[in-house]
Amino acid sequence: MYKFLLCLRYLKTRWIALASIVSVTLGVATLIVVNSVMDGFTTQMQDRMHGILSDIVVESRSSVGIAQPGWYEERIRARLGDSLSGVTTVVTLPAMMTFQHNGTSHTQHINLIGIDQKTYASVSDFSKYLLHPENKEKLDFALKQTGYAPDRKRLQPSGWEYRKPVSRYRKASADNLREEKQIEEARYHDLQEQIKAQEPEGDDSALGSLMAGPSIQIQNAAQQAQGFDAEFDQRTGIVLGIGLGSVRGREPDGSVDDFFYLRPGDDVSVTFPNAGTPPRGINESFTIVDFYESKMSEYDSTFAFVPIEKLQQSRGMIDPRTGAGAVTSIQIKLKPGADLNAARDVLRDEFPVSHEFVEVRSWKETQGPLLAAVQLETTILNILLFMIIAVAGFGILATFFMIVVEKTRDIGILKSLGATGPGIATIFLGYGVLLGTVGAGVGVLCGLAFVWKINDIARVIEWITGREVFDPTVYYFDTIPTIIHPFMLVWVTIGAILIAVLASVLPSIRAARMHPVEALRYE
């Protein structure tokens, strides 16, 4: 009883000890903030990855792909049974995208993904990342009149509303160029005639120097398209990752926005390998029908989706005898609650690596290195922050030693009254527990408050320092994502209390071993 009473009284009267646990408080608060933010980032990242990648991928390791995807689908459905939610086939390949902007040609690497628009939404959250509301409901790769993210002023106008006037303008420019070409050709013809008249017969050297033709190379769009009119027709639709058609930057007022150099309605040219051996490059033109914004910069800046039939046709992946199209992978979505690893193992058993030329991977394995890197980063941060708390523990140790010295006479008094050594030790250990509890408790409250108001705090810090704490151009998040796991709170609290208790062990032992007579005589 006296131990508890003295612990409480020391807690109320020894402010120096409370000061020593400020570092514990700060350490705990920092751990909570860092873990919450890291968990927030990780969870959002995983959710998005998971949404994009489906649960399990059966992937071909040959460039030709899986020739009979229907047969694989049947086996997958048979093995997974009720736990299967959806299956789709996909053709994925590296490609180059070329487009014109401000009169210059730009080329960019992309991951070209041929998707089955009927089934692709059943295995991933693909649709919800599209900008046009109709495409969110059902993607049909058709260019819409308008309505692409109306809240994004820099994306307006888009769709046919944009394509028609631009096409008219380009046609008019082409007509003007055609007239200029005719004039040039006439001049060229006259020049030839003049040269022929001036030169002696049989000497064609001067003429040869002019055979390169007129200096202006004219692109006759109408001739190339063989009846295709961009004002009324669209090419095969392509959905581009938003990072492929825009760059994130700042407005003059400092606000962050996407600056689009491509928009729905523009045409792009994509070069990709065919399925032959050796592969040859194929060039196809596509019309941008929407943007895809998962807010995962890696995906948004490389993914481009087209109809799978178009890709199979262009690459020569359709069997002329059966009409079946080959695919490079089969994506599988499981029902909620299904065991991901068990399903993966079932499929690995069904398609053993030794027999099939396919690989079965879960989405976590697909993104293993990235997830492992984030996990490693979180672990190292936790270790570092706990080391900070451990340093705080040494502060507590020093303070406790000081308090034990200060309380030497009290220890002697207690011993003279019959208090045992372990009893004395319990007072200081209990004091350590109390300090740790108070420090960790206040730290938890501070940490939670910080996490709760983290975006407001970030804004205040930005206002004070003039520097952006959380740059949305880098992170693709408007706000700092946070998640608080109760388990994390518990282990951080217990860890901090444990450190405080461990720091009080040595001073407690010293107090317990103190000789009562020497303690009573201590001045």
Binding site: M1, R9, S416, L417
Partner: protein, 300 residues
């Protein structure tokens, strides 16, 4: 307390010895001196008139606490400073025994040994007929809590606790938390009764720093009595007080002795106080210079 340790409060006070001494330095037979018959059997330089008995002292004797051949030295680095050099001591039940001597004579050291706060290098100490100097640490702590009350020159109250809590401290120490909680009303009642006895009922919630020296010593006395001890050890209880306050403290101790039969061993360097005690042990240079009844007894 096991059967080797001291027993609870004595229930009989036989009319036996008055003084006690050791015949040999290493715990040999003890001599218990009867005042009326010891004069002819002197055998010790310290106690010329003593009758031999054996150690441990039988419970039937009238000595509550007795020690023989106590030596104690303190060591600092390579230097050994002897403080007690073979001290014999005995305190009669229900009496006030004074230990007197000059500074450095070993008075407080002897008191600490009697109070089991320290162990003698040599010699033996018996309480109520059983040795206490060889008890394990935990039993010594319990013995100190249950059988002894201690007061000090500088009061030694716990500054974080109120007056009432200071008085309750030994009871809290001696009882487990659950036991204390169950019996807290009776324990607190006893503490309040003792506080009333020392005249501080109006100061229950006051902290030591809010009390005068005399009040602090009264509090210390109440604290020392809360576990109903058999023996009160007082280390210069008036040494830090003015004459009037010191006199009132002595009056209080005398009344406790007189009315409640409390055995008191008191260290003092004040001859006038020692003279008012039932018996006096005079220490000089770590040895007992004179052991015997006070030369005169006056009312305090």
């Amino acid at each position: 307390m096991n059967n080797k340790g001291p027993t609870n409060k004595p229930n009989s006070v036989p009319p036996t010895p008055h003084l006690l001494q050791n015949a040999s330095k290493a715990g040999g037979p003890w001599r218990v001196v009867h005042p009326d018959e010891g004069a002819s059997q002197a055998s010790s330089p310290h106690m010329p008139n003593a009758r031999l008995t054996t150690f441990p002292v039988p419970r039937e004797t009238n000595y509550l606490i007795a020690a023989t051949g106590l030596t104690k030295a303190y060591r600092k680095h390579q230097t050994e400073v002897p403080v007690l050099k073979g001290v014999d001591f005995a305190a009669e039940r229900g009496k006030i025994t004074a230990i007197i001597g000059q500074s450095g004579s070993g008075k407080s050291t002897l008191l600490h040994l009697l109070g089991t706060l320290d162990r003698p290098d040599e010699g033996e100490i018996a309480f109520d007929g059983a040795r206490i100097d060889t008890l394990p640490a935990r039993q010594r702590d319990r013995f100190r809590n249950q059988q002894l009350g201690m007061i000090f020159q500088f009061y030694h109250l716990l500054p974080e606790l109120t007056l009432l809590e200071n008085v309750l401290a030994p009871a809290m120490i001696g009882n487990g938390a659950l036991h204390y909680w169950r019996h807290r009303r009776s324990i607190i009642d006893r503490a309040k009764h003792l506080i009333e006895l020392v005249g501080l009922s109006h100061r229950l919630k006051h902290r030591p720093r809010e009390l005068s020296g005399g009040e602090m010593q009264r509090t210390a006395i109440a604290r020392a009595l809360v576990t109903n001890p058999s023996l009160l050890l007082a280390d210069e209880p008036t040494g830090n007080l003015d004459q009037d306050t010191g006199a009132s403290i002595l009056q209080l101790l005398r009344s406790l002795n007189g009315e409640h039969g409390l055995t008191i061993v008191m260290v003092t360097h004040d001859e006038s106080i020692a003279e008012q005690c039932d018996s006096v042990v005079r220490l000089k240079g770590g040895k007992v210079e004179r052991l015997g009844p006070a030369p005169l007894r006056s009312s305090i």
